[in-house]
């Protein structure tokens, strides 16, 4: 009898281990670390909406108070600052470029700001500042990325859901996209990412899909589009965050389904992690994802005012 019990225990443990389930959260994956508390003082978070990780594995997070705060990998507060103006609204997108500077999508001031990691504003590198739909003008900026040649890609939504490309000097090069649900159109493009081919990945949040473009030529070409609305594994509801692991997989944070899904580059579902909730391993409307140098995935658990570090 004891032999049977032991064998059964081993079998269950083995199956669970093989499935990658750690008994916390839904789906496949396990939580390494959870940190962050709601609040206004230094080190606290109030509905954090964007996150970026630099090469030193420091996390930079902007929340709805308009603060950009830097943390170490385990959530220890390092320093922080504010963008010049926050009355009309707060930034919604952060990215580190290859020079180690922080690109900030200053959403409601129609501009992209560039900061050093210490928080010094590089005024001369600001792009935009005017509301409109002409080249170089913006409505609601949501994210910024740079490709290997240093070109900027900035996405926005509002009346003109589009992505604009700028040279490393900030000169307008091209734009693509409009408001709509056809391939190549967007409804609220939320996050951008660049892969090893310099393809631009866009989370088309309100169309519940991912689109990939090759914008290296005179005009942007749609490379791939996948995803459809739903709650089942492999389906998407309001994909807000996106991260590429460089190993052929893409990870998507869903604002609507409160989970993270792992797909192949071609959009084939691999696994998912997270269920709606407030406990460790549960998510409440996550906005952003980012990988650190050790391959751990950081999930910005927005409505839980915290960050969860996971592996899946």
């Amino acid at each position: 009898m004891p032999v049977r019990l032991a064998a059964a225990s081993c079998l269950v443990s083995g199956l669970l281990a093989a499935a990658g389930c750690d008994g916390v959260g839904g789906g496949t994956g396990h939580v390494e670390h959870v940190w962050g508390r709601r609040g206004l003082s230094d080190g606290r978070l109030q509905k954090p909406r964007a996150m970026a990780i630099n090469q030193q594995d420091q996390l930079y997070i902007v929340d709805t108070t308009g603060r950009i705060q830097a943390f170490d990998r385990d959530g220890q507060f390092l320093h922080g600052w504010r963008t010049p103006e926050i009355y009309a609204g707060k930034p919604c997108g952060l990215t580190f470029d290859r020079d180690g500077n922080l690109l900030v999508a200053d959403t409601h001031y129609f501009r992209m700001l560039v900061y050093t990691p210490a928080g010094e504003l590089l005024q001369e590198r600001t792009i935009g500042g005017e509301c409109g739909h002409e080249p170089g003008q913006f409505t609601f900026l949501t994210d910024v990325v740079r490709d290997t040649e240093g070109n900027y890609f900035i996405c926005e939504y509002g009346d003109y859901d589009r992505v604009q490309k700028f040279s490393p000097e900030g000169e307008f090069i091209l734009q693509w996209g409009s408001h709509g649900s056809e391939p190549g159109q967007f409804v609220q493009p939320r996050t951008l990412a660049i892969d090893e081919h310099d393809h631009v990945w866009v989370t088309d949040a309100c169309n519940h899909r991912i689109q990939v473009f090759d914008a290296s030529g005179a005009e942007a070409k749609l490379v791939r589009v996948w995803g459809r609305q739903g709650r089942e594994p492999g389906q998407l509801r309001y994909p807000y965050g996106l991260a590429l692991d460089g190993k052929g997989f893409v990870y998507v944070a869903e604002f609507g389904n409160s989970r993270v899904q792992k797909f192949t580059i071609a959009g084939e579902y691999v696994s998912h992690w997270g269920i709606p909730g407030r406990q460790e391993g549960e998510l409440n409307k996550p906005w952003e994802l980012a990988f650190d140098s050790q391959g751990a995935l950081h999930v910005l658990d927005t409505y839980n005012h915290r960050v969860q570090r996971i592996r899946m």
Binding site: G39, T64, Y157, D159, H179, G180, F255
Partner: protein
């Protein structure tokens, strides 16, 4: 930082534990058969079962004791405190929390601000206090009074469980509403500590106009003296001027100015005047200092008084500002018939009940509750103004008429208001045969507007109340998905009797950050298309950052004739406006940009009114209303009224006081087709004419009885005139009390005694209350009541049967907030000395809010742990019951089941052999040999027994039985036994045991044989 303990909610049940010794006494002997160990085990289990049942009965709880402290700061933002000190309070709190809050312990800090009311600025939270951009609660805070008790109650309600509680009050202690001492005593009883930071008021240069005194009732042309009492509270002479003015109806008249030099102390100025025209007059005196530094508080520089000169009837007609001049002809004809008429536009309405006292009747002439096209121009009757109209009739006896038109009654958004209650008809149609009229769907998107959730609930509440029972209403909010707040899956459902449910669900609404409008608008469109309503309206409130709907969706809205009104609040710059503006313009709806959330309810009422249009019944061809009752209004008018081409449908009130003078014969129920009805409401009279007065539907200008009809209608509604006696009313305000003295004379100037006088008063916030009037001398009656609010108090006195009511007013010029200039240390000391239950007294924190870094104010730690530790409890008795059930089973098991432990030693040996591989081979062989020999021995024994059991009868038996039948009986058994013996093992010779078995078998066979022998004999 918490400890766990066990406690009991009903500890007296623990006395049942005394049964345990009895249990032992009675059970010890009865369980003797079990052996010592099992008996003790069974007794132990029984004892535990009994103890656990007793604990469960005693409602055992897990008590968690915490040393965490929550401090709620109460900041007095009333006007009696200089502005700079009010602003410094928040900085003090921020520093105090940062210095003293123990983060490791999880201390919480919160902020409540108060004035006339109290509101939570920051709920208790385990973080330092950081406020971006100052106090937000100022939007809803009235600072013209100090209501410390309300703040204490609110703070108490906002404390979280599981921590010690302390309140820190920052105030000058000059409360003028409520009773802080009694509330604080209750808090102390609850273990809540109180620290006090007194705000020291320094001597300020201050002059106040204390009151204006004049006779309350004068005759035309009678000279009268108006006296003004001024008080200079400073220590030097203050120069300035006193300006006198008076207001009659809507007109202000400047009377003159006097230069004064005020020595410290009181001074009385007098001013002579006389009144030639009848009416209700308000006299006002203002003090204007030459140097503003000499008089820092301006709120106490004005006082007013009333007087009244009776003349011919006077009427106030209120018309819609968007349709000005609509009633000019009627006004002209009324004036021609000796009725004085003032016309007031709905965008510059009366602001006090006093203004209405000049009139004997008020006419609402096709005026809507709310009107306007944008957030700036939208104007409406506030709830308070509606209440003033109603009180003016109910308490003061003034007439109230409503004239019809497209903007009146239900079509004017007056449903579910106090005004509806005062009229002889209801404005809603409660008739199921009449088709549904309108459908409203609201979409709520969370915005970054201060108290956005509160305002969203407020506007939705207004909208729901403005709808009739046959209208439809739906509300979508974002909760991770676009959800209907009620009525899933239809969403837009008939209001009917769901109004209360809808209002209740609003309380639980928490609109989230909606990413896009499209899914919600599609959902609404589908629901609208299922609703059979004549007018369909969607209202969206948002900051404009969700993604816009597609053009095709907007086109479908337009095609379905569903207008979308967009209300932009806290929009993110110009980009935020674009989406909302487009949605409104494409669908033909309106677009409002709201800076001040207080405009929101007006907008919603104005918008919702648009769905009430179908209440209008337009008649083609025109129909003549029938006269159904010879009403005083129709005196001298014979037959039918002239034809009308429209009216607003209403529902006649089912009340015997209602008199229906005219009904229009239509296909509808006569109860919904009233044209003219009246009744008496309180002391006044109200009437409705549901058609208009000649602009569109009732083209009666050429009717010979036009003048007679309208003048009789207005005169019927006017206040009654008192000419049976002479009454004089004198009023005075002193020490927070209003005193009125009534002198009663008859026509011959003889005292009227033993009158059964009764009366009522209306306070500045329009609350009505009865007053007691007593006769104190011949012809002299007195009443007195508390006047703790600033503003106008109106008195209506009924002298008794046969006399018309008297009315008068008295003014309390300003709140005592503007009179107090010293810190009320007595109250503050008393509050700080309150000893909380199981804790230490509070501290009066001395210091100066104006000092740099707040000096000694920060020395006192209000997060100190001298309060009773917080204990939170959790019921665990259900768990104890489950445990009891388990132990009960164990008790039975121990008594009923004998457990054999013989297997233990072999098992141990087996485990040892498996686990400790160090045993030698020889040992193993020896063990195996032993096992083999044991096995052989046991096998031999088994074979012997089998052989013994084999059936082998003796020859003697065979002979006795007669051979054949016995062979038949045993053949099979013998054969099988022999086969088995041959096949498996060699035959074993019979031993003594076998012989013994054989003899037993023989005995059985003999017995059988004997039985068979006996049978034939018996049969024979």
């Amino acid at each position: 930082m918490s400890n766990l303990e066990i406690g009991f909610d009903q500890p007296w049940y623990l006395s049942l534990l005394a049964l345990i010794p009895l249990l032992w006494i009675f059970s010890y002997r009865s369980l003797a058969g079990l052996g010592n160990i099992r008996r003790l085990l069974a007794l132990g289990l029984r004892t535990l079962v009994l103890a656990l049942i007793v604990f469960a009965l005693a409602e055992v709880q897990l008590l968690r004791t915490s040393d965490k402290v929550t401090v709620n700061y109460l900041l007095d933002q009333s006007e009696s405190i200089p502005l700079e000190k009010r602003q410094a309070m928040l900085d003090f709190v921020i520093k105090a929390v940062r210095d003293h809050r123990n983060d490791a312990r999880g201390d919480l800090a919160g902020v409540v601000v108060f004035g006339r009311n109290a509101t939570i600025e920051i709920p208790p939270f385990d973080d330092d206090i950081l406020v971006l951009g100052g106090l937000e609660s100022h939007v809803n805070l009235r600072s013209d009074a100090t209501n410390l008790s309300a703040a204490l109650k609110l703070a108490q309600a906002s404390f979280a469980e599981g921590s010690s509680k302390r309140i820190v009050i920052v105030t000058d202690g000059n409360e003028n509403l409520g009773d802080a001492r009694s509330v604080a005593a209750a808090l102390a009883e609850d273990g809540i500590g109180i620290d006090v930071v007194p705000v020291k008021l320094t001597t300020r240069s201050e002059v106040a106009v204390e009151r204006v005194m004049m006779p309350s009732d004068v005759r035309r042309g009678q000279p009268m003296e108006t006296r003004v009492v001024l008080n200079n509270y400073s220590e030097q002479t203050v120069a300035g001027r006193v300006r006198f003015s008076r207001r009659v109806g809507l007109n202000d008249e400047f009377l003159g100015e006097i230069d004064v030099e005020l020595e410290p102390g009181k001074r009385v100025l007098s001013f002579a005047d006389k009144i030639e025209d009848p009416g209700a007059y308000t006299y006002q005196a203002d003090f204007i200092p030459n140097d503003a530094e000499d008089d820092l508080m301006t709120q106490n520089n004005r006082a007013t008084a009333f007087t009244h000169v009776r003349g011919k009837g006077s009427v106030l007609l209120i018309e819609d500002w968007q349709n000005a001049g609509e009633f000019d002809y009627m006004v002209e004809r009324l004036r021609a018939n000796d009725i004085e008429v003032d016309v007031m536009s709905s965008d510059s309405l009366f602001t006090s009940l006093a203004e209405l006292q000049a009139y004997d009747s008020v006419i609402l002439a096709n005026v809507p509750r709310s009107s306007g096209d944008d957030a700036q121009s939208v104007s409406s009757f506030t709830d308070q103004q509606v209440a003033m109209l109603v009180r003016n009739t109910e308490q003061m006896g003034c007439g109230l008429l409503m004239l019809g038109g497209q903007n009146s009654f239900g079509a004017g958004g007056w449903s579910n208001t106090e005004l509806e209650k005062a009229m002889p008809v209801d404005f809603q149609i409660k008739n199921a045969k009449i088709r549904a009229v309108g459908a409203v769907a609201m979409m709520m998107h969370a915005s970054e507007l201060a108290e956005g959730n509160h305002w969203q609930k407020e506007v939705a509440k207004k909208a729901i109340n403005a709808l009739g029972p046959m209208d439809y209403c739906g509300l979508i909010h974002w909760d991770g998905d676009d959800r209907w707040l009620w009525g899933e899956p239809q969403g837009i459902v008939k209001v009917g009797n769901r109004r209360t449910m809808m209002l209740a669900r609003l309380g639980r609404m928490q609109p989230g950050d909606m990413p896009e409008f499209e899914p919600g608008m599609r959902k609404m469109l589908a629901s609208f298309q299922r609703v059979n309503a004549s007018v369909k309206l969607m209202i969206v409130i948002s900051d404009g950052d969700p993604s816009p709907p597609t053009s095709s969706t907007l086109a479908r809205y337009k095609k379905a004739e569903i207008q979308v009104t967009a209300v932009a609040v806290g929009t993110h710059g110009p980009a935020g406006h674009k989406t909302l503006q487009k949605v409104a313009s494409v669908t033909g709806g309106r677009y409002y940009v709201v800076k001040d959330p207080r405009a929101l309810p007006k907008i919603y009422v104005s918008e919702v009114r648009r769905v009430a249009r179908p209440l209008i019944d337009e008649l083609d061809p025109p129909v003549r209303p029938e006269i159904t009752y010879p009403h005083e209004i129709l005196q001298g008018i014979e037959g039918q009224l002239p034809p009308i081409s429209g009216y607003v449908m209403t529902t006649l009130k089912e009340n015997p006081l209602v008199e229906v003078a005219s009904v229009v014969p239509t296909k509808h129920d006569p109860k919904n087709s009233t044209i003219l009805a009246s009744w008496t409401y309180g002391l006044g009279r109200t009437a409705v004419l549901t058609t208009d007065a000649g602009h569109r539907w009732a083209l009666w200008k050429d009717w010979e009885n036009y003048d007679k009809f309208f003048s009789q209608l207005v005169r019927w509604s006017m206040r009654p005139v008192n000419d049976a006696g002479k009454f004089a009313v004198a009023t005075d305000v002193k020490d927070g009390k209003v005193r009125a003295v009534i002198t009663a004379l008859d026509k011959d100037d003889e005292f009227l005694n033993f009158l059964n006088m009764a009366g009522s008063a209306t306070s500045p916030d329009l609350e009505s209350f009865d007053i007691k009037i007593e006769q104190v001398a011949p012809g002299r009656y007195v009443t007195e009541f508390d006047a703790d609010k600033d503003g106008n108090y109106f008195l209506t006195i009924s002298p008794g049967s046969g006399y018309a009511p008297l009315r008068t007013g008295v003014n309390v010029p300003y709140s005592s907030e503007y009179r107090d200039r010293e810190t009320n240390m007595a109250l503050l000391n008393a509050l700080a000395r309150m000893k909380p239950k199981d804790g230490e007294e509070g501290v009066l924190i001395d210091g100066d809010l104006g000092a740099n870094d707040f000096g000694s104010l920060l020395d006192v730690n209000s997060f100190r742990g001298d309060l009773a530790p917080a204990v939170s409890s959790q019921d665990v008795w259900p768990l104890f019951l489950v445990l009891t059930a388990g132990l009960f089973f164990a008790d039975i098991f121990v008594r009923r089941v004998t457990v054999n432990f013989d297997w233990v030693l072999p098992a141990v040996a087996w485990i040892r052999s498996k686990v400790w591989q160090t045993e030698t081979t020889q040992d193993v062989d020896q063990v195996l040999d032993r096992l083999r020999s044991s096995k052989a021995e046991v096998s031999g024994q088994i074979d012997e027994r089998r052989a013994a059991a084999r059936f082998a009868p003796s020859d003697e038996d065979l002979e006795d039985r007669g051979g054949r039948s016995l062979d038949d009986l045993v053949e099979g058994q013998t054969a099988s036994a022999e086969n088995a013996a041959a096949g498996r093992r060699p035959a074993t010779p019979m031993g003594p045991d076998a012989a013994e078995e054989e003899s037993y078998t023989s005995r059985l066979l003999k017995a059988k044989k004997q039985a068979w022998k006996d049978q034939p004999d018996k049969q024979d």
